[in-house]
Symmetry: C2
Subunit: 225 residues, 2 copies
């Protein structure tokens, strides 16, 4: 309990920086998305499949967070878009200051989509606003349909649930309906896409959701200019 | 960075209480084990299979941590041993004070094995000593063989790695050898068991490891009495 006052101060400071980031992203017409999941739910693979489909002339960049290693940045850099690894060195989440630093060398006017892959952790990243337009939670079918009830904060705060590794469904005890019901108990209007990055099933639905986000932002930017 | 001084104070206080717990466990000949993994790696299922094999007259108890829900305690209580759920209400790990409170109603002289299932989180629980004799990290084959390198702290601090969901191996891209090599890069002497709770493969090896721990403690308790 003695942690609370400092924790609040840290979160207030984070919210201030996140607010500044959000204003800068809006000014430059950038959609920023914050992907959160347990370790190994398939965030990096989903980003690989996504970058594969995006024409090289599009203005996309990726930040990827990990406690150690630059593995994910290496995997994602193959697609030719700007990618930066944020190595937190022990910290269990990304915070707004890390994002501010990581993008400091980039010309924001050259971007319109910024994908952030958070540290693999279904708990702590939920508390840190990164200035994103939306949080996205990824849950693989191997993790159990009870997870929205056990980790409610991230499911409450995420606009979209990506149910990943759908190809493994025949091999695990997992009810997609129960998982989706649990997610909507926590977050009534939650959007959900079911994806397999192995077979490609559901990827078009995910990409449609992503395009929708980008069109809304583009329309808003046109309207305000 | 401004978090560090208070964080250190919290951890020092935790270490003090953990030290007291460790002394009490030793005094009563209790082996305490702290199971840590990502959400959905199979900690609860491993405990179910374990309790199933233990004769009802044995002196075993379980504490199970979650942010929300009492699901795991319900699952584990079916085997007749004392089980208590610790609901952290948002906190991303168990700490020593929570353990101290949870066992306050139990007669420690009636126990010789205390199994603690931590909150599903591969990061934060690594920092909190609970007075355990050993930490055990569970990693499922669906999570990717790179995880020891990305989350080194918990692999460094755990005596045993349980590679779980081995039955899914034919359906995922996962090299057991690479995972084990990565684990031993972080922690040279790490013990490893490969387990499938579905087929039962490897459970006997896990139970042998567990028995070994209990025999060492029993011998130490006899020796000191």
């Amino acid at each position: 309990m003695e942690r609370v006052p400092l924790e609040r101060k840290v979160l207030n400071e984070n919210d201030r920086i996140a607010g500044e980031l959000r204003a800068r992203f809006a000014e430059h017409g950038i959609v920023c998305l914050n992907l959160i999941s347990s370790p190994g739910s398939g965030k990096t693979t989903l980003l690989e499949r996504t970058l594969q489909t995006i024409p090289p002339e599009e203005r996309v960049a990726v930040l990827t967070g990990d406690i150690q290693t630059e593995n994910d940045a290496r995997r994602l850099a193959r697609f030719g878009f700007p990618v930066k690894q944020i190595t937190t060195g022990g910290t269990c989440h990304l915070d707004a200051r890390m994002i501010e630093r990581a993008i400091s060398g980039w010309r924001l006017e050259d971007l319109d989509l910024l994908l952030i892959e958070n540290v693999g952790n279904l708990v702590c990243p939920a508390s840190y606003d990164l200035g994103e337009a939306a949080k996205i939670v990824v849950l693989s079918v191997t993790e159990g349909e009870d997870k929205p009830l056990k980790y409610p904060s991230i499911f409450f705060k995420s606009e979209l649930l990506v149910l990943s590794k759908m190809d493994l469904l025949p091999h695990v005890r997992f009810s997609v309906n129960a998982a989706e019901e649990n997610a909507r108990k926590i977050h009534a209007g939650m959007q959900i896409v079911r994806v397999s990055c192995e077979t490609g099933d559901g990827l078009s639905e995910w990409l449609r959701w992503l395009d929708g986000k980008r069109q809304v932002r583009a329309a808003a930017t046109l309207g305000s200019s």
